[in-house]
């Protein structure tokens, strides 16, 4: 019997870049295949060809052994292919039931249905039935999707796929926005789908997750098939060297810290309903990890210190002096920087060039009299910082949206480098970034700390927090649940504190 999906010799070119060249890929019924590769390796292009968003230049796609032509997303749906993107495709102001059956509305029986009237009760009933297939009970199908957590929104997407009898579900980095316990739950659901004979393509950067859920991995590099193997043979080193084309010597280059004097001291930081009585301090040259589940208040602590959100109570001291930071502008003036969790939405001006983005924090210092910009000086400074963060290609005239995710993040980091900070708060600095760039960003973090900057590192990736931090603070439900030294901090202890167990 032929496989569920077979892809042979797919090619796709965008202008001058060959995004995919002779790529083969297949998925069988009841199989979970991990699709891996660095950013720009061609994973998204492959997914989008399957989804009918991009048209292939050459190659063939077979479903159940018959050639399939996919030109539009509707074609893909008809063939039973569902793609769940990282940025979910839901209408937040509509209910769960409306979203699940957006494409296949249940009509009233008889004439009313012919006129286009919807049978709401049946729709709600069918929605509940679909969720029960996924093992979810008691979800209100009339809740607005925008009010649900990301995990439930993802479930809504999966239910939506089941609603049109999808047989192949592609998940593009489904775990990147999920807290740990939700990841386990998602895996449970993926296993159910597999047991029902669906094929699943699982795209992720997190190798431990891939190993936990996939039956087989396929690695792309620079638009080519770099290799593949059953999961039993897939070690981290093997996968990474396939992805990068070389072995990464050290993903977490961290030198022991030589902490100086206390730079940042927060006491009783409170924002009503969000964070409660958070106190800690950070020394010069120290990397303090801030761990916790998604929604535990880590980002909120960062935003409060940075002046992006108002404080209800609490004091912030900088080098021993109490300061009041009411806006990011004041924070920048005091030498505090914040690398936000979503670089595209919060960190970069995508339409502007690298030069502009790198220079924004220091534009005034690079201007005659603080007013008239000296663009040649801006160029020199921007280029110097681009070199410092190993930007590739090393060009400051490109728009940042032409760069890969890793290089975009280097630009955000470079922007704060330019500002000569005392304190830098990094919120998920390596989310969605490929392994090569990740190692480089880790090296930069280490370098900045070594130069005496006080660094707060927020990350949902525990290995990263544990390896890069000198101390780890763990948050749980808006409060500081505990502090662990580098030696004490193990995955188990952090998780125990984060989930509120003593």
């Amino acid at each position: 019997m032929s496989k569920l999906l077979e892809i042979r010799g797919i090619c796709k070119r965008f202008g001058a870049t060959q995004a995919l060249k002779d790529v083969d890929f297949d998925v069988d019924r009841g199989e979970v295949v991990g699709l891996l590769g660095e950013n720009g390796a061609g994973k998204s292009t492959l997914i989008k060809i399957l989804a009918g968003v991009h048209a292939k230049d050459a190659g063939e796609i077979f479903i159940d052994g018959t050639p399939a032509s996919i030109h539009t997303p509707a074609d893909a749906q008809r063939l039973g292919i569902a793609v769940i993107y990282q940025e979910l495709n839901l209408t937040p102001n509509q209910t769960v039931a409306e979203n699940v059956f957006l494409h296949h509305m249940q009509r009233q029986p008889g004439l009313l249905g012919k006129l286009g009237l919807i049978d709401r009760r049946r729709r709600e009933h069918d929605t509940l039935a679909l969720f029960e297939q996924l093992g979810i009970h008691g979800l209100d199908p009339n809740r607005k999707v925008g009010e649900l957590s990301v995990a439930f929104q993802q479930l809504t997407e999966i239910a939506k796929a089941l609603a049109f009898d999808a047989r192949l579900i592609v998940m593009d980095e489904p775990t990147s926005a999920l807290p740990d316990e939700e990841v386990q739950h998602l895996f449970e659901i993926v296993r159910r789908l597999r047991a029902r004979g669906l094929g699943v393509v699982f795209v992720s950067h997190r190798l431990n997750e891939v190993r936990a859920i996939c039956d087989r991995v396929v690695v792309l590099r620079d638009g080519h098939n770099a290799g593949g193997m059953p999961i039993a043979e897939a070690t981290d080193d093997k996968i990474i060297s396939l992805m990068v084309g070389r072995a990464i010597e050290n993903l977490y280059p961290k030198r022991p810290a030589e902490p100086g004097s206390v730079v940042l001291e927060v006491e009783g930081l409170t924002r009503r309903g969000v964070i409660e009585d958070v106190s800690f301090s950070v020394r010069a040259g120290e990397v303090v990890g801030l761990a916790g589940l998604v929604g535990s208040g880590r980002t909120e602590v960062a935003r409060a210190i940075f002046g992006a959100d108002p404080l209800t109570r609490g004091t912030v001291k900088l080098e021993g002096r109490p300061v009041r930071i009411r806006s990011p502008q004041e924070a920048l003036r005091l030498g505090i920087g914040y690398l936000p969790e979503d670089r595209k939405v919060q960190g970069l001006i995508l339409g502007m060039s690298v030069r502009h983005n790198l220079a924004l924090t220091v534009l005034r210092q690079l201007a005659f009299g603080g007013q008239i910009v000296d663009w040649s000086r801006v160029d020199a400074v921007a280029l110097a910082h681009a070199q410092e963060v190993h930007l590739r290609p090393l060009r400051v005239d490109l728009p940042v949206n032409a760069l890969s995710g890793g290089n975009q993040q280097k630009v955000v980091l470079g922007k704060w480098l330019a500002a000569q900070l005392k304190v830098l708060i990094l919120d998920e600095p390596t989310r969605g970034i490929d392994v090569g760039a990740k190692a480089e960003i880790h090296a930069l973090i280490d370098e900045l700390a070594h130069r005496g900057m006080a660094i707060i590192l927020i990350s949902s990736e525990l290995p990263e927090v544990l390896a890069m931090s000198d101390r780890v603070l763990v948050m749980c439900e808006g409060r500081l649940a505990g502090e662990l030294s580098r030696e004490e901090a193990t995955q188990e202890r952090v998780l125990a504190l984060a989930s509120g167990k003593k």
Binding site: V345, V373, R377
Partner: protein, 342 residues
């Protein structure tokens, strides 16, 4: 906080080859307007001998300088990610303020006060009135967080109503010749409103390109959240764009009064269509972050030439608005095509 400026000289980047410079020029939105203008000019000079004369060309510029000047201001607001629908009303209000200040009085049945102030002071008061409207717009948008479209739509009504109410629908006339000269006179061969336009366009263009706040404006329009989290003075810059927009609309409004020799309550009615159209035709993106002053001025000129063409080709003036609307759609189409190609 200090910046490390003791950087080593970094190697200059290779100069772009000629072909790529050419491509950059072709892809600029301004280029398509210039081509459109040349085509229109060629057609018009064939069908009407009156078109390609210096006096007609200068007249076109004079009659549209006010729209172009207001378009400079609206460009600032739109590039920063906002919109100002109240420019037409602001123009009328500024014109009225200047008219009352400068009028020698005694012309209307319903007696408005008239102060007979020196023309330049009246001019300044008019511009100040425009800036005040802009300040209110800015405060509504930034401090009260009203959506720009709604805030300025409201102000469109309020300010126009103020003008109509204050004058009871009457006109204000009887200006000293030094004042009307600002709209009707010449500096050498160049009409004075055109001189205003050139000087202001240069100033605003240089501001956007070289002043720190110019870059902030593009950054805020490009992504306001990122700009805020980068520590830029977002609120102040946004308010400034509305104030400058009001002031520039004010300049335009006073020039209209000076050119026509009368301030009427319906003056500049519906001009927001032309002003915003000029900017958009000139490549200013309504989603913010993109656009130039040069483009906006070209857009205004294109609208002017088109209206002139309708006159020369003896199309009834009732049809002008439909043609202007058509040009907006055409330029949007060109912009769309260009973006798809790149």
């Amino acid at each position: 906080m200090k910046t490390d400026l003791s950087l080593e000289k970094t190697p200059a980047q290779p100069a772009a080859p000629f072909a790529s410079i050419f491509r950059q020029i072709i892809q600029r939105p301004e280029t398509s307007i210039v081509i459109l203008l040349l085509l229109l000019g060629a057609v018009l000079s064939q069908s009407s001998s009156a078109f390609l004369t210096p006096s007609n060309l200068f007249n076109i510029l004079r009659n549209n300088a006010d729209i172009a000047i207001a378009a400079l201001g609206v460009t600032l607001v739109i590039v920063a990610g906002g919109i100002d629908l109240s420019v037409g009303s602001t123009m009328a209000f500024s014109g009225l303020v200047a008219a009352i200040a400068v009028s020698l009085g005694g012309t209307t049945a319903y007696q408005l006060p008239s102060f007979g102030l020196p023309p330049l002071i009246a001019f300044a008061l008019g511009v100040l009135a425009g800036a005040l409207v802009g300040l209110i717009n800015g405060l509504l948008v930034v401090k009260l967080k009203v959506v720009p479209f709604i805030a300025t739509l409201g102000m469109l009504g309020v300010v126009r109503g103020l003008v109509v109410g204050l004058t009871s629908g009457q006109t204000v006339r009887n200006f000293p010749v030094e004042f009307t000269n600002l709209g009707q006179g010449f500096l050498g061969p160049v009409p004075i409103p055109v001189v205003f336009l050139v000087v202001l366009a240069l100033l605003v263009g240089l501001f956007l390109a070289y002043h720190v706040w110019g870059t902030y404006i593009y950054a805020i329009g490009g992504n306001e959240t990122s700009a805020t989290l980068t520590g830029l003075p977002v609120s102040r810059v946004k308010i400034l764009t509305y104030v400058l927009c009001g002031a520039l609309a004010g300049v335009g409004g006073v020039l209209v009064v000076a050119r026509l020799g009368v301030s009427a309550p319906t003056q500049a009615l519906g001009y927001e269509l032309y002003v915003i159209a000029a900017a958009v035709i000139g490549g200013v993106s309504l989603s913010g972050g993109r656009g130039t002053v040069f483009g906006a001025v070209l857009g205004a000129i294109l609208i002017g030439v088109l209206n002139n063409a309708l006159v020369l080709l003896r199309v009834e003036s009732y049809w002008q608005q439909a043609f202007t609307g058509g040009i907006i759609l055409l330029s949007a189409l060109i912009d769309r095509l260009r973006q798809r190609r790149s």
